[in-house]
């Protein structure tokens, strides 16, 4: 028994020593060096911008490469990046971008040829389409002439200015023969943005250094590290301890864990994500044949509107999202995009009003039965809906409980169905086997992408191939508005059309926006001295558009080496070595003693 305790003690000491050794011995950065360590709960899928699709990778690429345009730091309107100016022909089909006189990080000049090569590569090489194929689908041709880049379109497209494609250095990338299998793991990379990637340890971290040739000027910090955590709880632990300096995209429970930490700024601002309910409006395929087993009552716009009136969005925000969201008084575009956000007002506005919801249903002939549940006007089917959510998401579970309660008030039964994420997207996007489902979308500064998810053409094909619909919606008015906004080059007029589209979604209710989740992040105030969000007023840090927060960020410089940290490191090493020797000595002692005692017994 005593021996056992002794051994445990030895083990403990050994572990302690090992720990001491590490803490003090992780290489101290050079004095005066400014490093920012960003935590991410996603690992990089690829450092090849033609292939990378994960948010963490596209963010890193935004910090590394120039784009034609970048959202303005205040207004979020497309503003000059690598393209310093642009013009379009009267028919809106020919666009000429003037590429800035600047240099790649290896000193080569940036030309329109680089941009033309990048775009043409995506248009002609199937592998290159992986990440940003849809962005060039409407391109007829792309040519370069000195610093002029000319893009000819097949049809007008106002959103061309928000081009999501990083411009790659032709002189480096044209040598790549097999793009589909190219990892882009030559470091340092040749880039044109504020940072250059210098190291990538797969599934562990990416290290970037300030680009001295950056045309806006070198960033204030010297090094930017993106460190991966497999789960958010560990990342929060890392932030609290100071292993990382900043982490974005937090869920409410994680955010609450850092809210009262004196060393951490808990960043709680309006976000870019809208959460909404998909209400099956009678799912069909692209040839207009019904598909799936959606409840027939939901085809009736009156029922969908009644459901909308029955939802207490403020309560959902308070109870489900812990107050860390904003009730949706609009549709899929969140209020942070001031230009495009449509807010319901006056008679159009749906406020929580169960009495009104009941009246709508009564008037439409959905009578309550003895059990309090309504039936269809033909008396055949009860209003019993399924609510499809993702498995293992406690927040959606809670949402389901509240909605069930709300709908019960109006004689509608709701049962929650949990599906794993792949099954979920299958049933709500392809087979149409749902009544009401939860969904959401992180909207870009140009909302065209999210609006397109409600087009007729996005419904599944008759062969059963999904097209990416978020609602199975197919409405001539909506389609017409969509086509019009494509052609409208006047930003104000286009915004007006886009608002009309949102109003249509709001009143027809194939989707019901419930809240806009806040952007929740956290950073250490003892490490980050200044950082500007995007947009500058009430904006986002990580996960925002463009590179502004990470270009403007400033951190505390590493203290002068030598005295404090140097001493610590030596102490650590000594302790480590001593610990190792002690452990080895003890092991040796135990072994010899055992031998000896065995020998005794043999005598």
């Amino acid at each position: 028994m005593r021996k056992w305790i002794a051994r445990l003690a030895v083990l403990g000491v050994a572990l302690l020593m090992a720990g001491q050794g590490q803490v003090a011995h992780a290489q101290e950065p050079a004095a005066g060096k400014k490093v920012l360590r960003v935590g991410a709960t996603q690992a990089v899928d690829s450092m090849n911008p033609f292939l990378a699709v994960r948010l963490v990778s596209t963010s890193i690429h935004r910090w590394m490469y120039g784009f034609l345009t970048v959202p303005d730091s205040k207004t979020l309107q497309p503003s000059p990046d690598l393209a310093e100016s642009w013009t379009s022909s009267d028919d809106g089909l020919t666009w000429t971008f003037k590429i800035r006189q600047a240099k790649w990080s290896d000193g080569q000049p940036i030309t329109a040829d680089d941009a033309a090569w990048t775009l043409n590569k995506i248009m002609t090489d199937d592998a290159a389409k992986t990440a940003n194929g849809p962005a060039v689908e409407n391109y007829e041709s792309v040519t370069a002439n000195g610093q002029d880049l000319v893009i000819k379109l097949k049809a007008p497209q106002a959103s061309i200015l928000e081009n999501p494609i990083p411009i790659m250095p032709k002189h480096v990338w044209e040598k790549v023969t097999d793009l589909a299998n190219y990892e882009a793991d030559t470091y340092p990379t040749v880039s044109s943005g504020p940072y250059i990637a210098v190291e990538h340890k797969k599934d562990q971290y990416v290290k970037l250094q300030a680009n001295p040739n950056y045309w806006r000027g070198k960033p204030k910090i010297d090094e930017l590290q993106v460190i991966f955590y497999d789960n958010p709880q560990a990342a929060i632990a890392g932030l609290k301890k100071g292993d990382i300096d900043l982490i974005g995209r937090l869920a409410p429970p994680e955010f609450q864990a850092i809210q009262n930490d004196p060393n951490i700024v808990a960043w709680n601002n309006q976000g870019r994500r809208a959460a909404y309910l998909e209400v099956n409006p009678g799912a069909t395929t692209t040839d207009n044949k019904p598909v799936g087993d959606g409840h027939p009552a939901l085809k009736d716009v009156k029922v969908r509107q009644a459901l909308h009136y029955a939802i207490d969005k403020q309560k959902l925000v308070d109870e489900v999202q812990s107050g860390l969201a904003k009730p949706a008084d609009g549709s899929i575009v969140p209020p942070m995009y001031k230009d495009f956000f449509w807010e319901a007002t006056g008679d159009t506005k749906v406020t929580y009003d169960p009495a009104k919801a009941n009246k709508i249903l009564d008037d439409a002939g959905y009578k309550k039965g003895a059990d309090g549940v309504r039936t269809m006007p033909d008396g055949k089917k009860k209003l019993e809906f399924r609510f499809t959510i993702h498995a293992d998401t406690p927040i959606e579970d809670k949402l389901g409980e509240y909605l069930t309660g709300f709908f019960k008030e109006i004689g509608v039964t709701l049962t929650t169905v949990k599906l794993d994420s792949s099954k979920f997207s299958e049933e709500t996007g392809v087979t149409g086997n749902y009544d009401i489902a939860i969904s959401g979308w992180s909207v870009n500064p140009d909302p065209e992408e999210v609006l397109a998810t409600h087009l007729c053409s996005r419904r599944p094909t008759p062969k059963g191939e999904g097209g990416g619909t978020e609602s199975f919606y197919c409405d001539p008015t909506f389609e017409k508005l969509y086509q019009e906004q494509l052609k409208e080059l006047d930003r104000t007029k286009r915004a007006d059309l886009i608002k009309q589209m949102q109003e249509r979604l709001y009143t027809e209710a194939p989707i019901i926006a419930i809240y806009y989740t806040n952007d929740l992040e956290g950073y250490r105030k003892d490490r980050i001295t200044s950082i500007t969000s995007i947009p500058e007023e009430n904006g986002l840090l990580y996960g925002g558009s463009g590179y502004w927060p990470f270009y403007t960020v400033d951190t505390v410089a590493a203290p002068a080496g030598g005295s404090a940290s140097g001493g610590g490191s030596n102490t650590g090493l000594i302790l480590g070595v001593v610990g190792g020797v002690v452990v080895l000595g003890l092991v040796a002692f135990l072994v010899t003693r055992r031998r000896k005692s065995a020998a005794d017994e043999r005598e």
């Binding site: 302690l16 720990g19 001491q20």
Partner: protein, 352 residues
């Protein structure tokens, strides 16, 4: 595939020849090993076939899932499907898969767009390191405590060690891992957070001996978690198997010879009691390759288990097939080895 059939009969003949003659027994062992190897090969073949179809039963369209939350037109999706070979008939896909697998080509991951073999190669090292060290510690700790507990049945040591191990065994791994992370990673009250919160090494990892220390300190918490939740099985198996031996006649005889208690235990009872644990340990060695998904996830350990878990979510068929085959083949091989080793260790199995 013919090996097991041929091998079966001579083995029986050997057994009938009886003990005493050394050479035939060795040949018997060889033949026995061959027949086991044949069986293993057959199992592996079945695994290859099964892998393909089982994973295709998973719901969800990988292309659709990879495109989730992104703007992708139907043409784009069709293109992607073609690129991944998912537009071909199932039978063609299967023939393709078997052909490639036999050439040790596991295909390209849908999500990472890199050869599966490379991905596995990168992750295998960290997994073997963590799970291997964890296994060694858990087995030593379990067997040692099991021996003590079984030998002094109902003693305080027995009650405490069995109790503690069972409690840890019942604790959810994720909870325990996070708890250790909070206490020893971040630090609570007077306890300093001396261990790193993630990964296998520091971002600015030092070189040389300091690097070894760096990795070792990163391993402490994951290893501790891994050991804490599994060592009970070795303890219990060892304990109960020793309990059975304690009442055997040969133990009484050994005691009657006047041997010390320690010697009776170490020389007589334990070697016999060890046999059931051999199977268990070998089986666990097989699973080492699979890593420990939960522990790897808590401590962001870049291992295989975590890779497999991610692959299921897509579903990334090629990556799943690759990792799954690796794991099952390892288990099959270890089981086969266990059979052979068992036979060598225990003469009773040989003659039976």
């Amino acid at each position: 595939m013919t090996a097991p059939l041929e091998a079966a009969e001579p083995a029986a003949v050997q057994a009938a020849a009886g003990p005493g003659d050394e050479r035939p027994t060795h040949r018997g062992t060889l033949q026995y090993a061959l027949s086991k190897a044949g069986g293993a090969l057959f199992s592996i073949a079945m695994v290859i076939i099964g892998t393909f179809f089982v994973f295709r039963l998973l719901p969800g369209d990988p292309v659709r899932n990879l495109a989730q939350g992104r703007n992708m037109t139907p043409t784009q999706l069709a293109l992607e499907r073609h690129r991944l070979g998912l537009d071909k008939p199932m039978l063609d896909q299967f023939v393709d898969f078997v052909g490639k697998t036999l050439r040790f080509d596991l295909g390209t991951s849908y999500e990472y767009k890199r050869p599966v073999l490379d991905l596995i190669g990168e992750r295998l090292g960290p997994t073997l390191l963590l799970a291997g060290v964890g296994l060694v510690i858990a087995v030593s700790l379990g067997l040692w405590q099991g021996t003590r507990a079984g030998w002094r049945h109902n003693s305080r040591f027995d009650r405490v060690s069995t109790g503690v191990s069972l409690v840890l065994w019942s604790v959810p791994t994720f909870w325990l891992g996070l708890l250790l992370l909070m206490v020893f990673g971040v630090g609570i009250g007077p306890i300093p957070g001396i261990f790193p919160t993630r990964g296998i090494e520091s971002v600015d990892a030092p070189d040389g001996f300091a690097y070894v220390l760096d990795v070792a300190s990163h391993m402490v918490l994951p290893c501790l978690t891994l050991v804490a939740v599994v060592y009970a099985q070795y303890l219990l198996v060892m304990r109960s198997s020793l309990l059975e031996e304690v009442s055997q006649d040969y133990v009484t005889v050994a005691r009657a010879k006047g041997l010390r208690d320690d010697e009776v235990r170490r020389r007589h009872a334990v070697p016999n009691a060890l046999l059931p644990t051999v199977t268990l340990v070998f089986m666990r060695i097989g699973f080492v390759v699979g890593g420990a998904v939960t522990v790897e996830t808590i401590y962001s350990w870049p291992g295989l288990g975590q890779l497999f878990y991610e692959a299921i979510r897509v579903p990334d068929f090629t990556l799943m097939q690759g990792t799954f085959m690796l794991i099952t083949v390892a288990v099959i091989l270890m089981n086969t080895l266990a059979d052979v080793v068992y036979r060598m260790l225990d003469p009773r199995v040989r003659s039976a």
